[in-house]
Each structure stands twice: as structure tokens, then as C-alpha cells.
Amino acid sequence: MVNIEKYFGSVCALKDVNFEVGKNEIVGLIGDNGAGKSTLVKILTGVFPPTTGELYIAGRKVDTGSYSVKKAHALGIETVYQDKSLGEKQAMWRNFFIGREITYPFGFLKVKEEKKIAAEIMVNTIGFRGKGIGVDSKASKLSGGERQGVAIGRAMHFEAELIILDEPTVALSLKEVRKVLNFVHKIKEAGKACIYISHNITDVYEIADRFIVIDRGEIVAGIEKAKISLKKLDEFLLEYSHGLKDKVQP
């Protein structure tokens, strides 16, 4: 992403943002509420276009005017939102294929095929085993961690090259957070890239290769994991939030 800016009316949500993710790299995106993390992600995933700026995916320039969620999916970018990944009242098999249904001509669903693939993903990728949850279960029966697991499993099934996790562990118990982090490790093992957005620095530190700090619509720091300890990173962020630190350009 090059020189991305986004205005909502006269409010500037992102200012001159330059940002990149390497292959099989896990980037931790850190920032306070309202810093612009979600706006950045939504531009990257085609939910809405940037006001100005350029977007390159796998080296190719993307026309931001006609860019959409469907195109992002086609280019291998998948998003897992904290609470917007699954339709609560819908069966699991529908949740796996929503927006990318397997259909007969005229758009009728191939239900058997969808259910079969959904069952495979649930057992093999996500690791659901005989807990009374199957492809016909509704998403509301799943725990928070399991939901994120389903969303990540879905992303991996559709061969995402870049999976974006937007605050995936908010409102989860410690045990459930553990599950989500294990799913993220699987993304790394599968050779895919990931942007992990979180408040929780401990989680981010465990899984990310590089950290990007964003504040009031601007990227203020980019730090390699190898160059900083968790304690140092924590101190840096604290100092920054108290306004003691000058900007560090990546």
C-alpha cells in the first residue's frame, strides 16, 4: 500500500500510510482504538476504497475504484473479523461458502458437495472431533475461539495468500485465545502471510515476525521481532502513548 489516505467527510482516518507484507510473514499491527487499524484493513480487503493512494497485490497494481471484497478474495486476501465472520443463525456449511457458493446453473446450491467439503475442513484443518458440532450446527453453538477457527479454516480452504485477523481474541477466555493463536501458527506453517491486529501485545509478540505501530491515522514505527524483546516493545508503546517518544520511521 503506497501513500494511502482515507477521509470520511472531512475526518482524516488514514494519512500517508505506506505498508507492506512479505510472503509467509506475520505482521502484528498495533494501535489504540480509533488509530485507523480497521480502516486500513477495510481498504486492503476491498470493503471500501481509499480516498487517494495506490494498492499493489503480489506486485501488481490494483484499480482501487473497482476493487471489491470479491476481487480481494480472488487475489487471495481473506479477513477474519472479531465478530463479523459468521452468520449466527446459519448452518456451518452455509457459513463456509457464503459469497462463494458451489452452484448448479442458475445459482442453485450444491448442498451435498458444500456439506462434504465443510465437514472435511472442520475435521482436518480446524480439528473439530465428535463434540456434537457438525456441518448442520448453527454458528451460535460455537465458542468464540471455535468461531475464529472456522473463519481461519475457511480462509485457508480458499487458498488465501494473506489472512488478516482483526482483533480475533477480543472477549475470549484465555483458553480460547490459546486456540486462536494455535490457528495462527498453522497459517505460518502453511506458508501463508498474515496481518494480526490486536491490543494484546503479548499475543502479538508471540506470533508476529514484525510489528507495525499505528497512531491517529499514521504509521509511527516498524520494528523487527528479532531486534526487540517483549519488555522493550511494551515499554516503547507505553512511552509512545504518553507522548515521550518521537516518531520512528520504519
Binding site: 449466527e88 443463525k89 446459519q90 452455509r94 457464503i98
Partner: protein
Amino acid sequence: MNRRTSRLGFLAQLEGLPIAMVLVVLYVVFMFTAPSVFTGYRIYMSFFQTVPPMLVLAIGLTFIITAGEIDLSFPAVVALSGFVFTWFFKHLNAPWIGFLLALASGALVGYINGLLVARLRVPSIMATLAAQFFWYGVTILIAGGLQIDIGAIVGTTIHTIFVGRLFGIFPLQALWSLGLLVFFWFILNRHKFGEAIMFIGDNAEVARVMGINVEGTRMKLFTMHGVIAAFAGLLLTLEINVFFPTQGQGMLLPVMAAVFIGGTSIAGGQGVLVGTFFGSYIIGSLEAGVVATGIGGYWVQLVEGLVMAASVILNVILGEEGVSILSRTARKWALPSQAPPGDKT
């Protein structure tokens, strides 16, 4: 649901079962209270004649409510489409052109509703309330407030096809409405359009981030409902051989009741078309049934209210959870020594 402990679990899979039971119980009660009427076939033929317009409207409304929206304008479409059809039949003797233009008029009303709701983001209850007043107004204005008698329609091809009598007794509109029900069941449950509607009604943000065109789907939805309502208006006008400018008034609440007692949730996200079918026949049978029992017309509304409340309550307690609990309890009674293990869900 736990498959091991729930032998009656398959009952929960049967769509609209609680409401079907209500209909059966209702007819059995009527058979005892009004045997001379409800043991003959004539009353049922009469229901097959009067319920279809309502059922067709309720099918469309089920989609709207599944999408988390509401449409109050369909009674006006019933009037408008009836006018368009009768005008073309009466003045130009062109029933088929009138038929198509009547459907088109419904599409127009629905499309404008869609524009207001999806593009301008007017809450659907307001947009369609205004639309109901507006389109009734338009209809009364262009009809000059007068009814149009089209007695000559009886025996024409269009009349025979849509509201003729199979074997001389069975009203064909019952088959048309049943056919539409089956078709739209597949659209809702086995088509990506129906799936998009369910996700939008469930959580429009989820639908959007998963790549569903939320605005476009809402536009199509309201347009579709306009066409469906126009078809209901045509069935009604053809059956009674007359257009009157206030036709459709008084159908709003019964149709909504039919959808809700059928088990479709007002919260959106799921639609039960089979339930809508039984709900429509319950609502359409109650008045005749209560009157036939001889307890007097003053009782009609009271009984209607009771049946509606009972149906909704049944839907709640006989939902997915309800059946599994019921089945476990039943097994406990049958085999007290082998109480089944507790089901965590």
C-alpha cells in the same frame, strides 16, 4: 443436537411441524364443534378459493422478514395490480397484456421501495408505510374511486388457467399458490439469492464482508415482493370478477400474522416457508370455523388471538431445543432404569 440421545430429533428437522399440528388440531376441533360444515369437502374447497391470495402475499413477506425488513405496501399493490388488469381487460379486451402490466406495476412499486430502503437507507417500515398510502392514493385517483365489474372474464382462458375449477370443484389458484410455495422454498433454501437474504437478515455486516452485494440483494428482494403481491392481486381480482379501489385493505395484519405464526422470526435471518403455508390456512380458516361453530361472530377475534398466541408459543417450545428435551423426557418415562446421559447442549 446430540444424535445419540435424540430419537425424535428428526422431528425438529421437519420444517413447520408445530404449526402444522396447530392446523390439524384446529380442524379436528371444528369437526366436533361444527360437524355439518367441517366433515364435508365444500368448506375446504372454499378455503382453497379464499386463502391463495393471502398465501401468495405471505410467501413474499416471509422473504422480506427473513431479510430483517418489513413491507407494509403490499395491500396497495393488490389494489393497483387489480386496477391495471381490469382496465386493460375492460377497455382494450387485452387480458394478457393487462396481466403482464399488472405484474410490472408491482415490480415498479417494489423497485421504488427498494430504492428508498437500499439506496437511500430509509427504514423499510417508514418507506413502505408511505408507499402504501401513496399507491392506494394513486389507484383511487386513476380509478376515479369507482369499482370495475369484469363479469365477462368468467370462462376466458386467463380466468380458467388461474382460477378455474379442476374437475369442476377444485380451485386452481390453490395449485398456483402451492407451486409458488415449492418454487420459492427452493429459492430461499437452495439458492444463493435465498442464502444471501438469510445472511443479510442475520447480520448485514457479515454479509457485506463476505462479499454479498447487500444493496443489490435488497433491491431485488423488494422488487420481487412487488411482483409477488401483484400476482396475489390478480388471483383475487380474477376470483371475485370485480376490482374495487380498496381491495387488499385488511390483508396486512392477517398476512403478517400468517408469517409469524408460521415460525419466521421477526429478528430476521431465518424464514420458514412451510410454516407460512400452514399459518395462512390457519388464519384463513379461523373466521369461517368459529362462525360455523355457532358461538357467534363476536367471538371470532378473540379465538383468532388465542390461536395466534398458542401457535407462537408452540413454535418457541417446540423449536430445535424443545424437541430434543421432549424426546429425552419421553425416553425417561418409557425406560426409567436407563435414563439417557445428559446432553450438554
